[in-house]
C-alpha cells in the first residue's frame, strides 16, 4: 500500500488539493494513493482531479521556483497518464486560448507523460563528468553540414551530466533531430538546456516540439498551425508509422500541388526509410523523423535518424547479399548500401530502400545524405549521373538519412521502377493477366 501514513487518513479531493499546495514536499506514493482513492469513490473524480491539477499547473508557472515546478510537473504528468484523468485534463485545456502563451506551453507540456529517464533514476554521484557545451552558433545543420554538426557533437565527453546547447540564428530541423537523438541515446532528457537561444529559434524549437518529443514515448505528430512542418516525431518498432508517412506527404499540399505520382513516390520513399530503421537499426532507443517545407525556396527537407547499430555493423553482423571482405572504411559500406539489392540480411530484406532514395532524389535534382559511423555520403545529380561526395567526421552511432527535395521538379519513382534491371535467368513465369 503506497504511503497511507504520509496521507494521514485523508482520502478525498480536498486532501489531494492540500497535498498539491506543498510542491516542495510532494510524496509520489501519497499522490498516487489519493488519485486512486478518489477515482474509486467519486464518479466525477477525473474531472475534479483534472481541474485541480490544471489550476495547480497554472499556479506553478506563475509562482513556483524551478525545482518546485519540476516536482509538481512530474506528479501531474504521472496522474495525466491515467486515461480518464487525461481526457478530463484535455477537456479543461480547450478554453485556454485566452491564457498567455508561456502558461499554455507549460500546461501542455505537463500533459505529456514521461518515463523516468535513466540518468534521472540514477543517484547523481554515480554519474561522473560535468557540464559540457555544444556550440552550434556557426553551424546551421543543413544536409551538407551534417559532418560539421557530428564533429561538434563528437567533441563532447560522453560522461557528461548536463549539456548546454548554444544555437545560432537558425538551425535546420535536420540538425535538431540529430541533437535530439544524441540527447535521447545518452539519457540526457531533462539534463540539457538551450542557453542564450535567439528568440526565433526558441519559437522554432517549440514549433517542432523538441522538448515534448524527447519526453513523449508515443508518436506525436506536430500540430503545426501553418501545416508546413512535421515536428520531431518518434519512430519505434511498436507503433504504426503510416500516419507519420501520410502526414509528411500532406504538408506538401501547403505550398505545392503535387501530382498523384509525386505523392505516391513520396509515400514510398518515406515508408522505405522508416522500414530501414525498423528492420536494420536494432536501436536501444526510438529514432526520430522530422520534415519541413521551405516555402521561399520551394524545397522540402526530411530527416530520419536512429541510434542503432549503423550500416557497417549491420552488414558485418548480418548475412549480406554482397561480398564485404574488401570493404575497409565506413564510406565503402555506405557506397554499397545505396546499390540495388545490396542488403545486410537476406531474409525479409530486399535492398531497395536506399537505392530508390538516392536514384529518385538525384533525378529530382535534390540532395541526399547518408551518415553512419565516421562517414557521410552526400549524393546529387551532375551531368545526368549520381555523384557522391564523402565527408569523414567523428563517429555517429546509428544512421542518419536526410534528403532535400526540389518541389519544382517531379519525383520520378516510376521511371526508376521501369529501369530496374532484372537478371533474365531469374525471370519467373509471368503472373500477370
Amino acid at each position: 500500500m503506497p504511503n497511507r501514513e504520509a496521507v494521514g487518513g485523508l482520502s478525498n479531493i480536498g486532501a489531494l488539493a492540500d497535498l498539491l499546495r506543498q510542491p516542495y514536499a510532494l510524496d509520489p506514493g501519497a499522490l498516487e494513493y489519493l488519485v486512486e482513492e478518489s477515482l474509486n469513490t467519486a464518479k466525477d473524480a477525473p474531472v475534479q482531479i483534472a481541474a485541480l491539477f490544471f489550476k495547480q499547473a497554472l499556479r506553478a508557472e506563475r509562482e513556483l521556483v524551478p525545482l518546485e515546478r519540476e516536482n509538481l510537473g512530474r506528479f501531474i504528468r504521472r496522474a495525466a497518464a491515467i486515461p480518464t484523468v487525461r481526457r478530463a485534463f484535455e477537456k479543461s485545456l480547450r478554453p485556454m486560448g485566452r491564457c498567455p502563451t508561456r502558461e499554455r506551453i507549460w500546461v501542455r507540456q505537463l500533459l505529456v507523460p514521461i518515463p523516468v529517464p535513466a540518468a534521472e533514476a540514477e543517484p547523481a554521484e554515480q554519474v561522473s563528468g560535468g557540464v559540457e557545451t555544444l556550440d552550434l552558433t556557426k553551424i546551421a545543420g543543413a544536409v551538407t553540414e551534417l559532418h560539421l554538426l557530428i564533429d561538434a557533437i563528437g567533441k563532447i565527453s560522453p560522461r557528461l551530466r548536463f549539456l548546454n546547447i548554444r544555437l545560432g540564428e537558425f538551425t535546420y530541423a535536420s540538425g535538431l533531430a540529430v541533437i535530439a537523438q544524441w540527447i535521447l541515446a545518452h539519457s540526457l532528457v531533462g539534463h540539457y538546456e538551450f542557453v542564450d537561444c535567439p528568440e526565433p529559434m526558441a519559437r522554432y524549437l517549440d514549433n517542432i516540439r523538441f522538448s515534448a518529443a524527447l519526453r513523449n514515448p508515443s508518436i506525436v505528430i506536430s500540430p503545426d498551425p501553418m501545416d508546413w512542418a512535421i515536428g520531431l516525431t518518434r519512430i519505434n518498432r511498436d507503433e504504426p508509422t503510416e500516419q507519420v508517412t501520410e502526414k509528411i506527404v500532406d504538408i506538401l499540399h501547403t505550398f505545392a500541388n503535387p501530382t498523384p505520382e509525386d505523392k505516391g513516390a513520396l509515400l514510398v520513399l518515406i515508408s522505405e526509410m522508416i522500414e530501414n530503421i525498423h528492420r536494420h537499426a536494432d536501436a536501444p532507443v526510438d529514432g526520430f523523423a522530422v520534415a519541413q517545407v521551405y516555402p521561399r525556396l520551394l524545397k522540402m527537407g526530411i530527416t530520419l535518424v536512429d541510434a542503432g547499430m549503423g550500416v557497417r555493423a549491420s552488414f558485418e553482423s548480418g548475412e549480406p547479399s554482397i561480398p564485404i571482405g574488401h570493404l575497409r572504411h565506413d564510406s565503402d559500406f555506405l557506397r554499397e548500401a545505396v546499390k540495388l539489392h545490396s542488403t545486410s540480411k537476406k531474409q525479409r530484406h530486399s535492398g531497395y530502400g536506399l537505392f530508390l532514395l538516392s536514384e529518385v532524389i538525384a533525378r529530382n535534382r535534390g540532395t541526399f545524405a547518408l551518415t553512419s559511423g565516421s562517414a557521410t555520403l552526400v549524393g546529387y545529380q551532375k551531368r545526368k549521373r549520381i555523384e557522391f561526395d564523402v565527408f569523414t567526421h567523428s563517429p555517429w552511432r546509428g544512421t542518419i538519412v536526410s534528403v532535400i527535395i526540389d518541389l519544382h521538379g517531379p519525383l520520378p519513382l516510376s521511371e526508376v521502377y521501369r529501369e530496374m534491371p532484372i537478371d533474365p535467368e531469374l525471370e519467373a513465369d509471368d503472373l500477370f493477366t
Binding site: 522505405e272 539489392h341 530486399s350 531497395y352 503472373l431 493477366t433
Partner: protein, 109 residues
C-alpha cells in the same frame, strides 16, 4: 473446363490505397494464403492502388512465391495496369528467387 480464379481487390483487402510496409504485405499474404486453402487460384486485382513500395511487393508477392515455388503462376494471377509496378513485382520475384536459391543451397529455407 477450368474455372476462372477468385478475384480479390487488394485495396479492399488492405483497407488502404497505399501499399507500403512489410507489415501490410505480410498481413495480406496471410489473407491470400487463407483464400487459397479453399480456391484453386486467386487473381489479385491492383486497381485503385495509389502507391506500391518494394518492401510491400517483396513481402506479398515474393512471400507467395516462396510458399508456392514453381506452382506460383498456376495459383496466383495478378491484374495490374501500371507497367512500372509490373516491373517492380517482377524484380522483387527475381530477387526472391535468387535469395531462395541461395538459402536452399545453404541447406536452409
Amino acid at each position: 473446363m477450368t474455372s476462372s480464379p477468385r478475384a480479390v481487390k487488394l485495396v479492399a483487402l488492405a483497407g488502404s490505397t497505399s501499399l507500403l510496409t512489410r507489415t501490410q504485405g505480410a498481413a495480406l499474404r496471410e489473407q491470400v494464403l487463407e483464400l487459397l486453402e479453399g480456391e484453386p487460384s486467386v487473381e489479385i486485382d491492383m486497381s485503385g492502388v495509389n502507391a506500391l513500395s518494394p518492401s510491400f511487393a517483396d513481402e506479398l508477392f515474393g512471400g507467395l512465391q516462396t510458399s508456392f515455388g514453381r506452382a506460383t503462376a498456376s495459383r496466383i494471377r495478378v491484374s495490374c495496369a501500371r507497367v512500372e509496378w509490373r516491373r517492380l513485382i517482377r524484380s522483387a520475384l527475381a530477387h526472391r528467387r535468387a535469395i531462395d536459391g541461395q538459402l536452399s543451397k545453404d541447406g536452409r529455407g
